[in-house]
Symmetry: C2
Subunit: 394 residues, 2 copies
């Protein structure tokens, strides 16, 4: 995968790699605020959790206009399960940004992340917005502030920039816990200079999110606040839709893998590749079920090549296959070690154990049911996940 975000001098570029995007961010303790200004055709996908946060409910309506001028994001409070007051607060957030930018509140996207069941601190948001609005700029420093402002339990900011022939797609995201399938995505903000109408953006975004963010599992808990925005500023003109889809998927995948690697308490990233499935959906389900299994995750943390857990997880994915026909490897490429070939177990698991001694562990499972393929990403389960989540609100 080509990752153009790091320049030779080490500078990270994501948002600032896309013309027409300016941003700024600030953080006080766990309360951050980020403002991204980028007028253009826009689309979004949202969490499928029934208990949707106030900003999600608001944006589901407002995104139908197909155009955003800017997005305001706060961290530290999710504004979820806050009822009517939460709804009013989400609208106030949009108004705060609209006033600074002299645009319509309807054209401001809002998103929140943090503790559920708390009201927004609007005076703080107002104050922080006044601070950062004058600082809006297109620079690596500004995007670094912006990506840091939306972090909660994330341990590093997440950027991606992928270039097509004539255009770029760049974005930032956050996500570390409450990460699971069956969602829109975590908080992700994507920008491109390609000129693409909102209706096409929506379809292409859904396609890419299904195969990237939605294939990440940290703990199986789907957030109330997940959202992924995509805005096309249009300065690069019309582009080939097929090429755009490819570059978009690559950009989303780069971000998704950063979320997986930064899973709460993670010491290792896990990539599960399922091949020769009957359908692509089958392949995705099996890959996600394996990468989300607490027993598989614990075994990888302990560097234990307990491959029976991999097959047991596959077996509960709701997908039909013949356990006596499958093959499974641990490790990548030339160095992959077989643990089971055509249903027959490998007696000597030393090579498999060796393959687990990596920061990125690859598991490959051949279902021998068809020709479809999918990948999912996650992380190991460590004591630290429990520590982080045992005392989050306090």
């Amino acid at each position: 995968m080509s990752d153009n975000r790091v320049l030779p001098d080490g500078t990270i570029r994501s948002l600032c790699g896309v013309s027409g995007v300016r941003c700024a961010g600030t953080k006080e303790g766990k309360f951050g605020l980020a403002l991204i200004e980028a007028p253009g055709e826009s689309a979004a996908v949202f969490t499928r959790n029934v208990a949707k946060a106030a900003p999600i409910l608001l944006m589901q309506e407002r995104i139908k206009r197909g155009r955003l001028e800017a997005i305001l994001v706060n961290s530290g409070c999710a504004n979820a399960l806050t009822g009517r007051r939460g709804q009013a607060d989400a609208m106030s957030m949009a108004e705060i940004a609209a006033e600074k930018l002299s645009c319509s509140p309807d054209a401001v996207g809002v998103a929140s992340t943090g503790v559920i069941g708390r009201y927004l601190d609007l005076p703080r948001i107002e104050k922080q917005c006044s601070l950062i609005a004058p600082r809006l700029s297109r620079s690596p420093a500004a995007e670094s502030d912006t990506a840091a402002a939306i972090m909660t339990t994330d341990t590093y900011p997440k950027h991606a920039l992928v270039k097509g022939e004539q255009f770029s797609i760049g974005g930032i995201c956050k996500g570390s816990g409450m990460i699971a399938p069956n969602m829109g995505t975590m908080l992700a903000f994507l920008y491109t200079d390609a000129a693409i109408p909102a209706c096409d953006l929506k379809d292409m975004l859904s396609h890419a999110v299904t195969r990237s963010f939605n294939q990440v599992v940290v703990d199986g808990d789907t957030s109330t606040n997940d959202v992924c925005f995509l805005t096309a500023t249009g300065s690069a003109g019309r582009v080939d839709n097929h090429e755009f889809e490819k570059v978009l998927l690559e950009c989303c995948t780069l971000l998704a893998k950063q979320i997986a690697a930064d899973g709460e308490g993670a010491s290792r990233m896990i990539e599960v590749i399922v091949t020769n499935a009957g359908t692509e959906t089958d392949a995705r389900e099996v890959a996600k079920t394996i990468v989300g299994s607490p027993l598989v995750k614990s075994a990888i943390y302990g560097q234990d090549p307990n491959w029976g857990r991999i097959i047991a997880a596959a077996g509960r994915a709701g997908v039909s296959f013949d356990p006596d026909a499958i093959s499974c490897w641990i490790g990548a490429g030339q160095d992959r070690a077989p643990v089971c070939i055509a249903g027959t177990m490998t007696e000597d698991l030393r090579a498999a154990k060796q393959a687990l001694d990596a920061k990125q562990v690859v598991i490959e499972l051949d279902l021998q049911e068809g020709e479809e393929k999918a990948t999912a990403w996650g992380c190991d389960l460590t004591e630290e996940y429990v520590v982080i989540n045992g005392k989050y609100t306090t």
Copy 2:
């Protein structure tokens, strides 16, 4: 719930509370063997994992006869993902017991639990069976040996005995990790002296298992080896079916709660009661999703009244409800503390935090969608779960 298993002198009775049942067990390190002799009409429910262990595949066929003479169970090796050799080994297990008991191998139930992807050590099973077959008896000591023989990561043996007007139902089970919904159950062996035909037993067992064992979630991983057997020895004669169903559910629930409380690494048992759901299935799904949420489990371990995670988990259960109408309490009975009433959050969570300082934590969620109700059981998520599962095979 009436639990008749503990006598005034502290003696535990389960299997030996049912006439017609004799048992014996032994354990060498992690390799145990249990033999239960109880001729009678029999039924069983099995794991729904696609990757079914060899003894499961064998018993799915043999249980169709509707009658068992005995059951032989080994621990330490699951005989799962072992292909044709595993199938032959499961049949050999049945033959070993049949020879000792002078019955047909077709009438011997077999079950296995332990590491997946290992072959059975048949010479050891033969040797252990020769040791315990002459010791078969109906006594608290024998049932204690039997329940201990089937344990893996369990920290205590699990017994239940519930009496009806004229009959008893007693049983033992094991289960601590790889415990999840969508299964037959863990290993459970139930006996009654009531006279009930196998076809009725099957229906009544399915009904009870759906509402008891299948409502237990430890880690969301469904085993390849789950099975629950029920044998009716018949010496108490015909009984009222309705009463029998009630007593059976009570007996299964007593065992299910013991499994939840003994979840790997658990420090607290969690009971989730969902009320006023649209359908019983909805209530069950929501209860199971909450009790299985890693974030809810971690919060309870940390005594953190982070109720937003409870509602967020409910919201991803695939069940429709209005988040603005729900109420939620932590704690049981008179002492339950509200955290959210009719969609409005409780600002002071001190009482809720206090309610989390218990060995058995109760969470109640009123969905305001209908009149149906269900309960699920689980445990908190501690660092110890990760430690136990990080190095299981080694």
